[in-house]
């Protein structure tokens, strides 16, 4: 139940938040969408040439750097999904084996506390071709191994994926651990009584029971991947060449280095579209969940 005492004060108190939302979010998004139809270069121009309103977009999809960005986005998304798998395995093991739980949790989660610039700096150093891990591998005789991934256009993305997985696995482990703890503890003893092997229990019972946790993780991961920017700056700055461009990096590059406002706006609108595509399932999922809960109450 909500209070019905005063009508004015709460509405007054909500004014700042409402203004911020209207101006800094809704208004700003509209502004950027509008700009994406103009020919704005370094400074905004507000005339739209209706005969070719989509020129920034058609240019965008002919731009190799943008196509590389989209491809890298998918690569990064699929690669980072390893963090969910890894997080689940770690969570399942910690959950079953109680020994050292808090120690392992602390170690797996600390990368989350530091800035992605720091993470990038550390991994950039370890991937150093002359003095980094590759050098170490060669010194101990594994001369066939190559670990200077960031230096080569075809492997640089994998370097970024490795750093991202390192950074975020602990987070998915925490979410999975929470999911595992909410599972009824009786199924473990029931399975033991029935002599069901543990791996079958996980695959056939536990994972299906945790499908909401998995979907949540997948959506959070996708949103994180779309926003990936800091780690790219710190590790490769988009290079070698343009091989590690992602949409977030491309957009900011178009705005700050090339000074092309209309073009950057078009790229930003595409980012919003990609976010919406990922976001829609979350809304639908929540609605479905609510309906299911409502039915369960009935």
């Amino acid at each position: 139940m909500a209070l019905r005492w005063s009508r004015l004060s709460p509405q007054l108190a909500l004014t700042p938040a409402l203004a911020v939302t209207a101006v800094a979010f809704v208004g700003a998004i509209g502004w950027t969408i509008y700009l994406s139809f103009t020919r704005s270069r370094r400074l905004p121009e507000y005339t739209i040439d209706w005969s070719e309103w989509g020129r920034q977009y058609s240019r965008l999809f002919r731009d190799d750097a943008w196509m590389i960005s989209l491809r890298n986005l998918i690569t990064l998304g699929l690669g980072s999904a390893l963090a969910i798998v890894f997080g689940f395995v770690l969570a399942a093991m910690i959950d079953k084996e109680k020994r050292g739980e808090s120690l392992f949790r602390t170690v797996f989660l600390y990368p989350l506390a530091v800035s992605l610039i720091v993470t990038g700096a550390a991994w950039r150093w370890m991937f150093n071709p002359d003095m980094g891990i590759e050098n170490f591998l060669h010194q101990i005789g594994l001369t066939g191994l190559n670990f200077s991934w960031l230096a080569h256009a075809d492997t640089a993305m994998y370097g970024i994926i490795l750093a991202s997985v390192w950074q975020s696995s602990g987070f998915y482990m925490a979410l999975m651990l929470a999911g595992l703890k909410s599972i009824n503890s009786e199924i473990w003893s029931a399975a033991k009584l029935d002599g069901v092997p543990l791996w079958r229990l996980y695959i056939e019972i536990v994972i299906p029971m945790m499908k909401f946790t998995f979907i949540t993780c997948a959506i959070l991961l996708s949103l994180g991947v779309i926003k990936a920017y800091d780690v790219i700056v710190a590790m490769t700055n988009g290079g070698p060449g343009q091989s590690t461009y992602v949409p977030a990096y491309f957009t900011i590059q178009a705005l700050s280095s090339s000074g092309n406002l209309g073009y950057a706006s078009a790229a930003a609108v595409m980012m919003l579209v990609i976010t919406a595509v990922v976001f829609l399932p979350l809304v639908l999922l929540t609605a479905w969940q609510q309906r299911r809960r409502a039915e369960a109450v009935k």
Partner: protein
């Protein structure tokens, strides 16, 4: 409204639900499976710990030893030279006054952002959760969407607005943008916390002729200790670790520490002093790491509650 349920089911369980108590039983001998699991977990722990180890040892080495190339070897001679250099002389762009400039900028950005963002979202969350505002539902949904919007789509308009307000390139500009961008998520967290305030307390408060602001200051603020500390930790770490807002709105004079660090490590001219880079990285990482190792549990609660922040 419970759009948040998916993320929060996962997050909330961490806080609220513990495994049902088991019956006491004899202490078992350690099984082969347990040993295998522990070995696997230890190897994973090593994977997580190695970068920190490498960064720490590198920061204490001399460049002469680093050039020999044994990345895992401990320093043959421990030296604080690189730390001193990173703090006092490292270059960020054309300024060579070290990371201490960025450190104090980060501190100066932190306090106004904390006060502004928490004050704004706490009041908003309270009003939306407990008072009968007709458009509360649609507004919450809008906030939920805003929490996911990529920064790039509002970047240029925000730059324009902050220049119009004459705060672009200042500490206040960066703090203001932090407060604006964190408002949706923090409001949703506060609102979800306040909507469970027990009915009896509120009815009593109304009887007591409590006005909106009196109820807020006399009842709501005193009972918000737990959530405030979680949000405080979430905000401190996210403001401190931010790079994008700092680099976009900091101009030349208000760059936070992460921007200095990024400038230092991405520099491509001259010989790169890796020991200084790693010392700089550690200096940037120490404040959030200290918080994490002191109050890790609260940190995890904050991160999972703010998970929608992505």
């Amino acid at each position: 409204m419970s759009e948040l349920t998916v993320a929060q089911r996962a997050a909330g369980a961490e806080i609220a639900i513990d495994r049902a108590p088991y019956f006491p039983r004899r202490k078992k001998m350690i099984t082969g499976r347990s040993i295998a699991v522990l070995v696997f977990l230890s190897i994973c722990a090593l994977f997580f710990a190695v970068p920190l180890y490498v960064v720490v040892v590198t920061s204490f080495k001399t460049m002469a030893q680093i050039r020999e190339g044994a990345i895992f070897a401990p320093p043959s001679m421990w030296t604080l030279e690189a730390w001193d250099y990173a703090w006092n002389q490292a270059c960020s762009g054309i300024n060579c006054n070290g990371l201490k400039v960025g450190f104090w900028n980060s501190v100066a950005i932190l306090f106004p952002s904390l006060v502004l963002s928490i004050a704004l979202s706490m009041v908003t969350g309270y009003a939306l959760a407990l008072w009968n505002v007709r458009w509360a539902g649609p507004f919450l949904f809008l906030l939920f969407i805003c929490a996911f919007v990529p920064f790039q789509i509002i970047m240029f308009p925000l730059i324009s607005m902050t220049s119009t307000l004459k705060v672009y390139g200042s500490i206040w500009g960066v703090a203001l943008v932090h407060s604006v961008l964190s408002m949706p998520v923090l409001t949703l967290i506060f609102r979800n916390y306040y909507k469970d305030v027990p009915q009896e307390i509120l009815s009593a408060a109304i009887m007591d002729s409590g006005s909106f602001w009196r109820i807020f200051f006399e009842i709501i603020v005193p009972m918000s200790g737990n959530i405030l500390i979680v949000i405080l930790i979430l905000q401190i770490t996210s403001v401190w670790n931010d790079y994008l807002i700092g680099v976009t709105f900091g101009g030349f004079n208000a760059q936070p520490m992460t921007v200095n660090l990024a400038n230092l490590i991405t520099i491509s001219t001259g010989t790169v002093a890796y020991n200084q880079n790693m010392a700089a990285a550690l200096l940037t990482a120490i404040p959030p790491l200290v918080i994490y190792f002191l109050v890790g549990k609260l940190f995890v609660q904050g991160i999972t509650a703010g998970a929608i922040k992505g």
